[in-house]
């Protein structure tokens, strides 16, 4: 026994030493196999969950863009380019109902007989009769000779009543309660939900003796314990529904199965019920449903005319239907931490565990980079370790000032990401003296955006002069002037504000003193506000900066109890500016009112073609910016550091994403 123990006592340490020596040697060999692949560090405590709809950081957003594919995306030129959808078009579907079963079929036959020239003239594409329903598909979402078609069909259609039922927070439950009774359910042909507070129904063929609205009010009062607000919106001979049809290209999920229209429908149905802050969410809200017309064609039906609904699908990742059926999405999105859905993007996840994640190209096309390994750590030491040992090629966010490496290493180059958010100052035009255009113009003239970026954002930002994301087809190439305090002072003088003995701009009514509210949850905004205060002090404008909880700031904006607000807002790809700038909208916090702009905004809502929307959007933007009701300041970027040998060498470095780096073709 003692002999055995003695062998153990002397043998075990030798075994440990030998094992350590062998492991060290093999690890050297393992590292030497690193060719054509990158290692990136993300500064966060755990591996990213890769929730396609709730990216927690810019790095995660860029990873999701690699792994998942939307129907439409924004190309390098800022214009819409195909994603999973090779093509898309707008159309209009008109549905009419007949009292008798045979009437619809007869009407369809009459229209089929006129196929050809007449159809081209009417912009009619398809006719379908089903039961008492006749569906007409027009190729133009706005213009289509519906009356002519119905006359040609000699259709005596039933009137359609659109009812709106409002029951805050209980719209879906009320709809279910309504559909539980046959006398309410039978006439209902369409249902559209306006959020969780209201829904609209299209009813046809209600017996004359049945007081539908009154009975429905009584029924829902009993069922829901509260009387709903029911009103008849309109009565029409038909239901007109704009439809957006996507034609899918021949794409495959990373598990090999084909991407179909069913996946598009399943994605929409999974997302619409989630409270996630999706970009361009208004475009999803107006969707009545998604229909599968063919395995590679999906039709998105809207319940009202809303051209910017196209923007809802820009950059929206599509997920496989069978995966969505097998996995219930929780509101917090935690499912994605455990289960990764297959994507259809150019890269796929090879492996993910607690310490690292590996992604590689989804196809066998030769590429400069064959593999990307991601590691996470909050420790600046890990960044420095990677930098010093050439173990890391890319850091997010950018590494702090690094000490001189003990091991020689190539230089790192900072690169900024495309902007996701913009900072702007919104003025309350209802307040004195902000209702004076010259005062607002003076405030705009005094601002030096480059100084704001340098002093408040440590250089991590770019000047912004537009309401749209820079580089987008909607965005105007605006000239961002540097601050001119002298000109601002002249403008103030023209408005009757002259410097007093203290050097402050004043008028017979008092000094020019404004309060600037700032949400305190983003320190960068407070720094920006502080810098603006200094810049406005030069022409004599006094500013009080008031950091407050974001909820309080929003409350002040809604009640109009503010002078100015420094806000950050996501940069969306929609051309719908109505909610913020239409004079009748409660979301128009600034109180801006311009009839010409209102007309432009209304036209934009009904603009279905992105190319046509751009001139109108730019015109509306020019009018809004000319009023100086809003002061776009800067776009906020996240920086990363990349080894100089991996950079594309552009000077100055343009905003850059992982996709730019990883989808470069291999050198021949």
């Amino acid at each position: 026994m003692i002999t055995l123990v003695r062998s153990l006592v002397f043998g075990l340490p030798l075994a440990f030493v030998g094992l350590t020596w062998w492991a060290a040697d093999q690890v050297r060999v393992s590292r030497s196999l690193r060719q054509g692949d990158l290692v990136a560090l993300m500064s966060q405590p755990t591996m990213p969950a890769l929730n396609p709809y709730l990216p927690a950081s810019e790095a995660e957003r860029q990873l999701i863009d690699l792994i998942h594919a939307p129907l439409i995306k924004v190309g390098p030129d800022g214009r819409l380019s195909p994603g999973l959808a090779s093509d898309w078009r707008w159309m209009k579907r008109v549905t009419v109902w007949f009292a008798e079963l045979k009437s619809a079929a007869d009407a369809a036959k009459r229209l089929e007989a006129r196929r050809g020239e007449a159809w081209n003239q009417w912009k009619l594409e398809a006719v379908a009769a089903q039961g008492r329903t006749l569906s007409l598909t027009f190729t133009d979402p706005l213009f289509g000779a519906v009356r002519s078609v119905l006359e040609a069909a000699a259709a005596k259609v039933q009137r359609v009543s659109i009812l709106r039922i409002e029951l805050p927070g209980k719209a879906r439950a009320a709809q279910t309660a309504m559909m539980n009774r046959m006398d309410f359910a039978v006439p209902v042909q369409r249902v559209w939900f306006d959020g969780e507070d209201a829904f609209e129904i299209a009813i046809v063929g209600v017996p004359a003796e049945f007081e539908y609205e009154k009975e429905l009010r009584r029924h829902l009062s009993q069922a829901m314990g509260r009387e709903p607000l029911i009103s008849t919106q309109i009565e029409l001979p038909m239901v007109e529904e704009p439809a957006l049809e996507f034609t899918l290209r021949d794409a495959r999920w990373h598990d090999g199965s084909p991407v179909t229209a069913q996946d598009v429908r399943a994605t929409y149905e999974a997302l619409i019920r989630k409270p996630w802050p999706l970009p361009n969410r208004e475009g999803l809200r107006v969707i009545r449903g998604v229909e599968v017309v063919a395995p590679n064609r999906a039709q998105v039906l809207l319940w009202r005319h809303y051209g910017p609904a196209l923007a809802a699908w820009i950059g929206l990742p599509i997920l496989p239907a069978n995966w969505l059926q097998a996995h219930a999405l929780d509101d917090a999105g935690r499912l994605f931490q455990r289960e990764l859905p297959p994507g259809a993007g150019p890269w796929r996840v090879e492996q993910r565990d607690y310490s690292s994640m590996v992604i590689q190209p989804a196809t066998d096309k030769p590429a400069a980079i064959q593999r990307l390994t991601l590691v996470t750590s909050l420790s600046t030491f890990t960044m420095q370790l990677g930098y010093s040992t050439n173990s890391l090629d890319l850091f997010w966010p950018s590494a702090p000032a690094l000490p001189a490496p003990t091991i020689s290493s190539e230089a790192l180059q900072p690169r900024s990401s495309p902007p996701q958010r913009a900072v702007q100052v919104l003025w309350n035009l209802r307040r004195e003296p902000l209702h004076q255009p010259l005062v607002r113009e003076a405030l705009s003239a005094a601002v030096d955006r480059r100084a704001v970026i340098t002093r408040a954002l440590q250089g991590k930002g770019r000047p912004q002069g537009s309401l749209f994301a820079p580089g987008l087809w909607l965005s105007s190439a605006s000239v961002v002037e540097t601050g001119d305090a002298a000109r601002a002072e002249q403008l103030l003088a023209s408005a009757g504000w002259l410097r007093n003995v203290q050097g402050h701009a004043s008028s017979p009514n008092g000094t020019l003193l404004l309060t600037l509210l700032v949400p305190e949850d983003m320190p960068a905004l407070t720094r920006i506000a502080a810098e603006l205060r200094l810049q406005w002090a030069r022409p004599g404008i006094q500013i009080i900066v008031k950091p407050q909880p974001r909820a309080d700031v929003m409350r002040a904006m809604k009640s109009g109890a503010f002078d100015g607000v420094v806000l950050d807002a996501p940069l969306e790809t929609s051309w719908d500016l109505w909610p913020q700038w239409h004079s009748d909208e409660p979301g128009n916090f600034s109180g801006f009112s311009d009839r010409q702009v209102d007309l432009l905004l209304e036209a934009l809502k009904h603009e279905f073609h992105p190319g046509e929307a751009a001139p109108r959007a730019q015109r509306a933007e020019a009018l809004i910016l000319a009023s100086h009701a809003v002061l776009p300041l800067v776009t906020v970027h996240e920086d990363s550091m990349i080894r100089a040998s991996l950079s594309d060498g552009s000077a100055p470095p343009s905003p850059w994403t992982l996709s730019d780096l990883l989808t470069r073709p291999a050198r021949p």
């Binding site: 492991a23 000490p403 091991i407």
Partner: protein, 565 residues
């Protein structure tokens, strides 16, 4: 019987340096588990916001910050990894220490003392400092990666099973060596002198006289060493479990230690609660393994005759006086909230001018932080002494009441790895209370031993009043031991303070210097080396003082009552 090491005893896990021995209560694993559960319940009732019944919380139904999981599903895998790391480090530390000890013990007294000193010094180096230095050496000199911090997996077509295995091993072996270093130092310091001075058994001597080869003698020494290993294994390993908080945090390992360290750093009560629960299970498992390893309680014949030779009393008489004066000065310094101005203006510069040029700047840079930590360690030691006297005396008095059951609560508490609890609570006073628990057991045993000693019985027979008997024959002799233990506790508290400050991010102190070393250690390993050396040197000085002040006046005829299990 030698007071230092009576039979049926082992060391406690509380202090780095061996205290006079403690008995191990029966069913220690179960007792430690119960203690852990009580601590978890106490933490939940005081600090945690987690809702629910106590029983469900103790059953592991605690939501942690690890995703949406609860304690069991999230922490069990982590606990398993930590257990593997600790057992591996313990196996390496004890076998390597034993092998080195056996070799050194044949090399003469100078080598033995030097090894004991080096081992003690190694046990006093904060494990974080060891980790930083090893990382700097691996990266800068050996050009090796730290796989656990920046993992890399080659493409599948180029990867092989041996490469995959080597990466996993490397990721865990480096931290294992870092963890094993202080454990080995602790164990080696405790036993190397014992190994050398162990008197061989009569049978071995007889066999040597009969002309048998020296291998027989070596075999006797080895048998003794193996017994020592079994006795000290649990104490060393439990200390190693506590050190995993820093080692796993440093190397980014997905274990229980890293989870606990993160919870402490960020102040997450639910996570700490789950850590305490899982830690209790780990402690119980280790205690069970220790019990199995210890096996029969019967001592080896040679071990029973081994004795550590104490230095002659007369030689150290005057040194004791000098040591006591130094102790008094140190106490005066430690109890002040800030170092006195005269220390900063002339004492420190004068002392550093005696050092070589290259050392002067680092010493001056770290001395203020060291003094801050000494102040905190002094507070902790004061609380430890207070806890010792109060709890120990109370336990001794209760032990006299035969009607009361012997629950051995104090002994059980003394075995729970208090470094973990002290770090979680983060204050010097609580650290002192945790340190005082083991000392209280010794104080209790000492009081009882003196109470039963011949001279006390004689004083009683002569009619001396009870209070005078206690004061003259029990308390006064025990105070010298208390002084030595307090100095040892100060040394331990100093290292614990450094480690605790590292996790809590306390702005002053050596711990903060080690935190700052994170950003500079690769370029300048001295940024980790000097703080660690300062802490180690100060702890060694305190330990040395303790050895000078230690109790010399104990009568060798002191008889300890047999343990009641």
């Amino acid at each position: 019987m030698d007071f230092e090491r009576p039979a049926h005893t082992t060391r406690t896990p509380l202090s780095i340096e061996p205290m006079p021995a403690l008995r191990q209560p029966s069913h220690l694993a179960l007792r430690l588990l119960l203690v852990g559960l009580v601590l978890t319940a106490w933490w939940w009732s005081r600090f945690s916001q987690a809702e629910g019944e106590t029983t469900s919380l103790l059953a592991g139904d605690v939501a942690t910050t690890l995703g949406s999981g609860h304690a069991w599903s999230e922490l069990l895998p982590r606990a398993a990894r930590t257990l593997g790391l600790v057992l591996g480090a313990s196996a390496l530390a004890t076998t390597l220490g034993l092998a080195l000890g056996l070799i050194i013990s044949r090399c003469g007294l100078i080598a033995i003392h030097a090894t004991a000193w080096v081992a003690r010094a190694l046990s006093f180096v904060p494990v974080v400092g060891i980790g930083w230095l090893i990382i700097a050496w691996l990266v800068n000199d050996a050009k090796l990666p730290i796989e656990s911090l920046i993992p890399y997996t080659p493409p599948q077509h180029r990867d092989t099973a041996s490469l995959a295995l080597s990466r996993t091993l490397w990721a865990w072996l480096v931290p294992l060596w870092v963890l094993a270093a202080p454990m080995m130092g602790q164990w080696l310091a405790a036993v190397v002198r014992s190994l050398a001075l162990a008197k061989p058994a009569r049978e071995a001597l007889a066999s040597r006289a009969a002309g048998h080869p020296p291998a027989m003698l070596a075999r006797q020494g080895f048998a003794f060493a193996w017994t020592e290993l079994r006795r000290h294994w649990l104490a060393t390993t439990l200390h190693g479990l506590a050190l995993t908080l820093w080692v796993e945090d440093l190397f980014g390992l997905p274990g229980w230690g890293a989870f606990t360290a993160n919870a402490i750093r960020l102040g997450l009560p639910e996570d700490i609660e789950a850590s305490l629960l899982m830690g209790s299970i780990l402690v119980a498992v280790l205690a069970w393994i220790g019990h199995w390893l210890r096996g029969s309680d019967a001592p080896d014949a040679s071990a029973a005759e081994a004795a550590v030779q104490a230095p002659p009393r007369s030689l150290f008489g005057s040194v004791t006086v000098l040591g006591s004066l130094t102790l008094a000065l140190l106490a005066a310094l430690c109890l002040q909230p800030e170092p006195p101005p005269w220390m900063a203006t002339w004492l420190l510069p004068w002392l550093t001018s005696l050092l070589p040029d290259a050392w002067q700047r680092p010493v001056l840079d770290h001395a203020p932080a060291l003094l801050t930590d000494l102040h905190h360690a002094g507070i902790a030691a004061s609380w430890a002494a207070l806890t010792t006297v109060v709890l120990g005396t109370g336990a001794a008095l209760l032990a006299q009441v035969r009607a009361l059951p012997r629950l051995r609560v104090l002994d059980t508490l003394a075995w729970w790895p208090a470094l973990i609890l002290a770090t979680i609570l983060g204050s010097p006073s609580w650290m002192g209370v945790c340190l005082g628990l083991a000392m209280a057991c010794h104080w209790r045993d000492l009081i009882i031993a003196h109470h039963h000693s011949g001279y006390t019985q004689a004083a009683k027979a002569l009619g001396l009043p009870r209070w005078l008997r206690w004061l003259r024959h029990i308390v006064m002799p025990a105070l010298q031991a208390l002084a030595a233990w307090t100095l040892r506790a100060t040394a331990t508290a100093l290292i614990w303070t450094v480690l605790s400050d590292y996790l809590h991010g306390t702005p002053s102190g050596i711990g903060q210097h080690l935190v700052n070393a994170r950003s500079t250690v690769l370029a300048d390993p001295g940024s980790a080396f000097w703080p660690a050396i300062h802490a180690m040197a100060a702890a060694l000085v305190l330990q040395g003082l303790a050895q000078v002040v230690r109790s010399e006046s104990l009568d060798s005829s002191l008889k300890f009552p047999p343990p009641r299990l």
